[in-house]
């Protein structure tokens, strides 16, 4: 095995004995074979470690955490152990198409500026069946989007980590995951990469198959997700938007936080301080610092005031938003009315034409019989129909 392989697969393992064999086989079956696989097991209590060890391939390097460190810290360990030119992420319950790395490397060759390359995904359930909500879930990833734009990242992560290949030198420049983050460390890493000038691309083919479990980490704690996503925006996206003069994007970020359905689950003062922190120009240094800014009420008390005022500007109750909501519902009502009357007009016209034809036929018949009398019944029917 090469000491500096082209690719370092990063497989984070935690109690996925059911799946990790398939994950590793899908790597071993790749058309590009110059790789190592760095497996970091985060203290699995099932047979995951034994299954990984049963693969007798020297390219697999297994590291077992002595105690459970969490996803972000495990990822950092893997990144530090990896020796390849590219770091290729693949979670221990997912698998990839045999040509995935080949196609991603072709894209990198065509555009050497690229640092992070993802792919579209296919979503499966725990039993390898297509997930019942796959269409809706895949729409979050499988759309043509430009990940190099700040707006693409506001409150949303459209890049599936398991699909990504990251240039190792770029990763070194942007740094590791924030080990205190649980819900959105990937999102924070990607937005930090964007801020550091990394270039993103997504291969529009579903080369990565991921598994959606009934209890995913991200959906388990919406307040935690709100805090971590807000932090990542405050730390990475706000300064970038400022540097690019994208001020309306900053408004959109603050509005995203103000309008998040879980904001009201925070203590009110903390919620207002959160918005205040989003508005201030000093970026948090890390997530712990960010949490401290929210929680230390006596430190910079003006943050709550700034937050309250901003909430009144862009929160759900702000006049502008209420007017837009009303405008949208008015437009819907006008379109409904338009369609209704269009349909009615067509009905009237059809009724008129058919009676006109009937009238003509009766006239013709009467003319051929030479009767002078007028077809009164047809006329009265026409009048009835048109005035109904």
């Amino acid at each position: 095995m090469s000491k500096s392989p082209l690719l370092s697969y990063i497989v984070l393992s935690y109690n996925y004995e059911r799946y990790i064999g398939k994950t590793l086989r899908s790597i071993l079956d790749q058309t590009v074979q110059d790789f190592e696989i760095v497996v970091v097991d985060d203290g699995s209590v099932d047979n995951s470690v034994a299954i990984v060890s049963s693969f007798e391939d020297p390219r697999i390097r297994l590291f077992v955490n002595e105690k459970n460190l969490g996803g972000a810290a495990s990822y950092n360990r893997a990144v530090q152990e990896a020796r390849g030119e590219w770091l290729v992420n693949l979670d221990a319950d997912d698998w990839v198409d045999p040509r995935k790395a080949e196609i991603q490397l072709e894209a990198a060759a065509r555009n050497p500026q690229l640092d992070v390359i993802g792919t579209y995904v296919a979503i499966y359930d725990e039993n390898d069946n297509r997930h019942p909500s796959a269409d809706a879930m895949e729409a979050g990833y499988n759309q043509p989007r430009d990940l190099n734009l700040v707006d693409t990242w506001i409150g949303a992560n459209h890049l599936c980590r398991s699909s990504t290949m990251v240039r190792a030198s770029a990763h070194q420049r942007i740094g590791l995951d924030d080990p205190l983050m649980v819900r959105a460390p990937d999102y924070e890493l990607w937005t930090r990469a964007l801020q550091h000038g990394c270039k993103f691309a997504i291969i529009p083919q579903p080369l990565t198959s991921i598994r959606a479990h009934s209890r995913g980490v991200t959906h388990g704690d919406p307040v935690g997700t709100l805090l971590e996503v807000s932090y990542a925006m405050q730390r990475n996206l706000v300064p970038l938007a400022e540097a690019r003069s994208l001020l309306p994007s900053i408004t959109r970020m603050v509005a995203w936080t103000c309008r998040h359905p879980s904001l009201s689950q925070l203590p009110p003062l903390q919620a207002h301080r959160l918005i205040g922190v989003m508005m201030q120009s000093t970026a948090a240094s890390d997530f712990q610092h960010f949490r401290a800014m929210l929680g230390n009420y006596s430190d910079h008390p003006e943050l709550a005031e700034i937050g309250r005022r901003s909430f009144a500007f862009v929160g759900p109750g702000a006049d502008a938003y209420q007017d837009v909501d009303k405008l949208h519902s008015d437009i819907r009502a006008y379109i409904e009315a338009r369609d209704y009357f269009k349909g009615e007009c067509e009905n009237w016209e059809r009724a008129y034409r058919s009676l006109q034809a009937e009238h003509q036929a009766l006239n013709d018949a009467l003319a051929s019989r030479g009767s002078p009398s007028f077809p009164r019944r047809a006329w009265s029917r026409l009048v009835r129909t048109l005035t109904k």
Binding site: S264, P268, F311, Q322
Partner: protein
Amino acid sequence: MNSPRILALLPFLVKGALSIAIFRALRARGVDITVAYCGDASADYEPDALEDFASTGHLLNLSGMSSVTRFDLVQELLVDRKIDLVLQVGATQLYHLLPYWKERLPALRIADILYNEIGHTLNHFLYEGCFDAVIVESDFMGDFIRRSSRRPDPPVVVVRSGVDVDDFFPAATPPSGAGLKVGYVGRMSGEKNPVGFIELARRLASLNPGLDFDMFGTGPDAAMVKERVATSGITDRLRYHGFVEHAKEALHQLDVLILPSKFDGRPVLVMEANACGIPVIAAPVGGIPELVADGVNGFLMHSTETERIHGLLSRLQEQPQALDALKTAARAHALAHFSREKMIEAYGAAFAKVALI
């Protein structure tokens, strides 16, 4: 005692809403109450057309209007009707207008009615300076308001809610079947934690073969709950019955009610269950400890405390007379503490006091 002329601001009109029941009861006692509402939620809730209010010109429909139009219409009504007291009952879209009415009509009193600590509280604290009273149902909520307020002494008024103890009465016959009937009744939504009940049922089922579990209610998580029940592995003993017309239909089928809430204000279900003679095992969160006297009308336990709940239910199973005594005590507690009549009186008195009449 003179009663104030009131304008109540509601987001929409929902059948069975506590606030509407209170306004109706006060109206029957001669209080002049106009209700204004901002929209339609008939897609999610069964509406109450409030025809009784409409028939006397005491209903104002503000749906589909711009803020400016709403402001003018309400302002006109405040002046024409000589309104003394505005009650904000969750009309999110009107919060930001309240201080402007107050600025124009300084004698107007405004009270916010807050049932729990999430939802409208962000708006409340944004505009709290314009409120003459914050009406809450529990000391827990009162403390929350004091803790979160920027005012040195926010005008908290605690009015304890109740239920109709004549409408909620004990079942004539105990639930059928050999096992002890343990149930969840309520909205299927995250804060009420129906999943916590399913998980508890699974753990208890393996410890005690003599327990049966029933779930009643609907809500945003209904489909997920149905699926969880279907895959629980105990479908012979855990059943999900869905929507019930009246909570007592569900309560009458139970021996013990479990309330596994993650957070809650003053859940009406505890009072309804007690009025039906059903003791509760309720999580000690929010205002629940103020409702449950441990060992009298129920027990304070988290749904994760499997061993304690198992021990308690086993004892009630082994000693039917203890269960019967508990049921009788629950009903007596409801009659003494959860009377709707007292609640109506307390609201009437609170409104008059806030309106300085």
